[in-house]
Symmetry: none
Subunit: 185 residues, 2 copies
């Protein structure tokens, strides 16, 4: 007909997809891509990756490198009660950051590597085997609800201010780094 019949991708429109069908298709495709990318990242760099994806009105999907459950559990497990001085936004962030900072990373790299490699192969095979079922990996059955975007407006102001400064920032140089910090092999 009069349609152009453009088959290739025409560009990424980074906006919410209106059409529900297309949105779901995009969700499936891109989710898989993100997982794949994460898998590659983990495999190539040895990092551990955990991903949680919660589509609206559906169950969450997850991708965990070794084990995202353990990851989260560990993380939040050591969490402590938030401080009462938090203005609107709970202190969880702070706690997490602190934990992230104070956590010591000792990971068995060799095992990780093997596991990552295995994982990679498995994922590829899994993808090939049941493409139809690739959307059905329900990890958790926990209901996930969307949060409001209250922080966005707050963030906006900060960003606007910050952007100006960052823009004029290019020439400045300076970095504190610790030598020998990377302790791996």
């Amino acid at each position: 007909m009069s349609t152009r019949l453009i088959k290739g991708r025409k560009g990424v429109r980074l906006a919410r997809i209106e059409n529900q069908t297309n949105r779901q298709v995009t969700f499936s495709k891109r989710r898989n891509s993100v997982f794949k990318k994460a898998n590659e990242l983990a495999t190539m760099t040895g990092a551990e990756v955990g991903i949680i994806v919660c589509p609206q009105g559906s169950k969450p999907y997850s991708f965990g490198h070794p084990n995202i459950n353990e990851t989260i559990n560990k993380y939040v497990g050591e969490e402590r009660p938030p401080s009462p001085s938090s203005p609107g936004i709970d202190d969880k962030y702070v706690q997490m950051f602190r934990k992230a900072n104070s956590s010591e990373l000792n990971i068995r790299l060799n095992s990780l590597q093997d596991q990552l490699d295995f994982e990679l192969n498995l994922r590829s095979k899994l993808k090939q085997m049941n493409k139809s079922a690739e959307n059905q990996q329900e990890w958790f059955k926990g209901p996930i609800e969307k949060m409001n975007y209250t922080e966005a407006s707050m963030l906006k102001e900060g960003l606007e201010d910050l952007l100006l400064k960052v823009k004029n920032y290019g020439t400045e140089r300076g970095y504190g780094y610790e030598n020998g910090k990377w302790k791996a092999e």
Copy 2:
């Protein structure tokens, strides 16, 4: 020039990168890419996405869309830690991974989200600028001291896009960048 001078990507080697330097570079790049992809996914499909990345020997990086804080809370709140003996509701990925190799890894990650990513960048800048963050960004009081100036350039772009996103929130393009640098060896 007799050399081929192949500059483009020659293919993804699905294996651990041997060179430490290259591995770090790849980690930074791909981590950002994964975050970007995840942000695109979240934006386009409205899904909630949270990513946790733990590089070896360094502190975890996190990313996510609306509010993984709540996500994690719900997870850990309603879902007890997955027991390896009764993994009926566990994810298939993890199951396959466990089957592939039964080695368990020690991980610790912090999980945050898109705004956490913003915060991460913002916090870094704010810290160095000594900006009074109490009014706007008070969430990240956590001690994260691995930021440096090297990310300014990348951060600029990220912030610019981010700003658009925050301003229009959902109709414009935008993606969060993590800090592009971790401590070098």
